[in-house]
């Protein structure tokens, strides 16, 4: 579904992503982990096409990531929700519905905003929403087109417990529907029982790319080893 080969991204002289390669197959739910500044957001923004790749290739479903065909196949939920100040919640969903040519988007949008408790905020302008509510709208916008590939950058930040649970449920559903999902996150427990595979980035490189099972067994097959401990173990400085 998503194929990244030798991707490098430089900001002027800073190498934010350094020659990484990985492939996500259909149905993969993959966690992209790593300490702050590891290059997770840069990787995702480059896949989305907001940043130019310095080197390497990215294809989505066989198409180059900046082509229109590729863009039809994925959606993106940014790290910081930025909406149109002067559009209402409902108009944002309508806008996305039109932009991605979503069939029956009204029905789907209604279901989504109900799940995220936004129904009473439907006609509020985005500039009147709190940050958490903006994040919810931003997630709804990412879910509405029901693409094959979802790119989430820290989706849980700022959400209330109910929305976090709802988001996790949605991830499970996406997994059942054989969708492909790439989630960058710090909240390790939020993806612990969800991802089949984790990628760990550090200083622009992928230092671990393993199935969850394999990773656990590698560290002594101890039921009590949490993802957090694994994470701290692999990212610690030598």
């Amino acid at each position: 579904m998503l194929k990244i080969e030798h991707l490098t991204k430089k900001y002027k002289s800073i190498v934010a992503v350094d020659d990484i390669s990985f492939t996500l197959n259909q149905g993969n739910i993959v966690g992209l982990l790593g300490p702050n500044g590891a290059g997770k957001s840069t990787t995702i923004k480059t896949i989305v096409g907001l940043l130019r790749k310095t080197n390497g290739s990215i294809t989505v479903g066989g198409y180059s990531n900046t082509s229109r065909e590729a863009k039809k196949k994925f959606t993106y939920v940014p790290e910081v929700p930025e909406l149109y100040d002067m559009l209402t919640v409902w108009e944002h969903l309508k806008f996305i519905g039109y932009a991605y040519n979503v069939a029956n988007f009204e029905e789907k949008a209604e279901r989504l905003i109900e799940r995220y408790d936004l129904w009473d905020k439907k006609d509020k302008l985005a500039k009147e929403l709190s940050k958490g509510m903006k994040q919810k709208v931003s997630i709804c916008c990412g879910l509405l087109p029901e693409p094959d590939l979802y790119l989430f950058d820290e989706p849980m930040i700022g959400l209330d417990p109910k929305s976090i649970r709802e988001t996790k449920l949605i991830f499970k559903e996406l997994s059942k529907q054989q969708k492909t999902v790439l989630i960058s996150t710090h909240l390790l427990d939020s993806i612990e029982n969800l991802c089949q595979r984790v990628l760990v980035m550090k200083k622009g490189e992928i230092i671990v790319d393993m199935a969850m099972e394999e990773m656990k067994s590698k560290l002594g097959n101890n039921e009590n080893v949490s993802l957090e401990e694994l994470f701290l173990e692999v990212t610690k400085d030598e």
């Binding site: 863009k71 929700p81 909406l83 100040d85 559009l87 108009e91 944002h92 039109y98 932009a99 991605y100």
Partner: protein, 532 residues
């Protein structure tokens, strides 16, 4: 759905929401009404002048206007072209970046739509600038209103060309990796322009005459952009010719072409505009008072490691912090670029003023203008204050000290700058030391009153911050109220004794009394303040 339809729909909703907002909150109308009144008064002013043209005995008027147009226009265009090699212009906001760009839409169509939209919008909005300049233009030249549309389009045609050009330059630079070469070309153009001016001045043997002649040279009228728009602009003053129409058409063709060229040059411009868009949205937030301004730092002092020793603990941390910020962005915690500018201004005004008059009028006028500018800026830069951060509310210590320590650096800097200006100016005008001292105290007390307004507004109009559009207005009103007593007293004293110096002294004394009272009340002020 097709891109143009999608974007028109979105903009339609936005316009609708603006109207709904006004309907739900008619208070907003006040601000629009004020704008309307202002524009109306500008138009009225122009019309009155047109009906009763004052005798303009400035024979050089048209020439000065033409030279000014070409001179400023060229500087403007070259400056923005140069900026274009470093940063793109943007036609987007962060909503576009996150919702529109990832969507399967054609980046080229999105760009053309946004450029065209912005150009149309600015075509109307920039009209205000033209209106504001009109009285000045009519002072020096007689205008033929029949050709006013030419004047308008010529002026605006120049402004409209800037953003697409800047975008195009950046797109070229990043697409073909020729940023440095472009930079050199533009620097060469700047050098040619300067040499041309210098040559003409030397051959004319007179600064003013050289400038007037070289900038009005008829062959310049065939230069793209600058020449064309100048011809159109001057039609209403120097008369109509067929070339007026040709020039105007050429100018607008040029704008259309630069949009079309940008369309062709740009297929993956998303990253290029990212920086500019982020900056713009930050600027917008800052205007609304919700984000603190970053100090723009001088190029040579970027990321400098600074070492500022501590002067005290508790509330004095604010004093330390602001000195650190200034030493990182400027030459010295207390002295900087502005000190030099003020010093030079003082010397310049002093030389010029001492030739014109024997009195102290230049001293008064210079300080009056500075006070006015301080007033305007403090109403506009509402966000630039420690109060937008929570720390001033959290750090334990006396409220009085907190207020003083958080403003002290700014006050010291302003005092030094004002002293640089007044001392150099005063010496050149051979003003008595007392007069210099009074003027320094006048401006500084004025400045402190403006600073304290940032605190006061939060109790006088506690909801002002929520009314983002109205906030600057409230602030201005409040500052006026604060200044009123001083101005009244100063006015009376000055009138009775017929001495402007006494008037300034009166204002300063009353200002100081008010500042003192505010400081005494600082505890009462602070307990009522909320962090928003």
């Amino acid at each position: 759905m097709n891109e143009f339809k999608l974007l028109t729909k979105k903009d339609g909703w936005i316009i609708k929401n603006h109207f709904l907002e006004i309907k739900n909150n008619p208070k907003r109308l006040v601000i629009y009404l004020l704008y309307l009144i202002w524009i109306g008064s500008l138009v009225l002013n122009v019309m009155l002048r047109y009906r009763h043209p004052e005798e303009t005995n400035m024979q050089l008027g048209p020439q000065i206007l033409g030279a000014g147009f070409v001179g400023f226009g060229t500087v403007f265009i070259l400056y923005f072209l140069y900026r274009g090699t470093k940063e793109s212009s943007t036609f987007f906001n962060m909503g576009d970046v996150h919702l529109l760009f990832p969507a399967p839409v054609s980046p080229k169509k999105v760009l053309v739509y946004s450029m065209a939209k912005q150009s149309l919008l600015y075509f109307v909005l920039y009209g205000i600038i033209v209106l504001a300049f009109m009285p000045m233009i009519m002072n020096v030249a007689v205008i033929n209103m029949q050709y006013f549309p030419f004047m308008y389009c010529g002026f605006i045609g120049l402004l409209l060309a800037i953003e697409p050009l800047k975008f195009f330059v950046f797109a070229l630079g990043s697409k073909f990796g020729v940023r440095e070469q472009l930079q050199q070309v533009i620097l060469a153009l700047i050098a040619i322009f300067c040499l041309y001016l210098l040559g003409s001045i030397i051959s004319a043997g007179n600064l003013a005459q050289g400038l007037l002649q070289s900038l009005n040279a008829s062959y310049l009228e065939y230069l793209p952009v600058i020449g064309w728009s100048k011809v159109a602009f001057m039609t209403a003053i120097t008369g109509y010719s067929t070339y007026s129409v040709i020039a105007l058409v050429l100018q607008f063709l040029f704008i259309v072409c630069s949009i079309v060229l940008s369309y062709n040059a740009a297929d993956d411009y998303y990253e290029d505009i990212l920086n500019a868009t982020e900056k713009r949205s930050l600027r917008k937030k800052r205007k609304e008072g919700s984000e603190k301004a970053q100090r723009t730092s001088l190029p040579f002092s970027k990321r400098k490691n600074v070492n500022v020793s501590n002067t005290g603990s508790g509330p004095w941390a604010f004093f330390w912090r602001s000195r650190v910020e200034y030493s990182r962005s400027d030459l010295h915690p207390f002295l900087g670029l502005w000190t030099i500018i003020f010093l030079l201004a003082g010397i310049g005004i002093g030389f010029y003023g001492s030739k014109q008059t024997d009195g102290l009028t230049p001293l008064y006028i210079a300080n009056g203008i500075i006070a006015y500018i301080i007033f305007i800026f403090s109403a506009a830069n509402s966000g630039q204050h420690e109060l937008t951060k929570p720390y001033i509310f959290l750090i334990p210590g006396s409220n009085l000290l907190k207020i003083i320590s958080s403003s002290l650096t700014d006050i010291i800097r302003m005092s030094l700058n004002i002293s640089a200006l007044n001392i150099s100016l005063g010496i050149l005008l051979s003003a008595p030391p007392l007069a210099i001292l009074v003027m320094i105290i006048f401006v500084v007390s004025f400045y402190i009153l403006n600073l304290s307004s940032n605190f006061l507004i939060r109790i006088v109009f506690p909801n002002a911050l929520d009314e983002k559009v109205l906030y600057p207005l409230f602030l201005m009103l409040q500052i006026l109220l604060l200044l009123l007593p001083g101005i009244i007293v100063g006015g009376i004293v000055g009138f009775v004794y017929q001495d402007p110096l006494l008037a300034f002294a009166g204002i300063s004394i009353v200002n100081i009394i008010i500042v003192g009272a505010l400081l005494l009340l600082s505890n009462a002020v602070f307990v009522r303040m909320e962090w928003k």
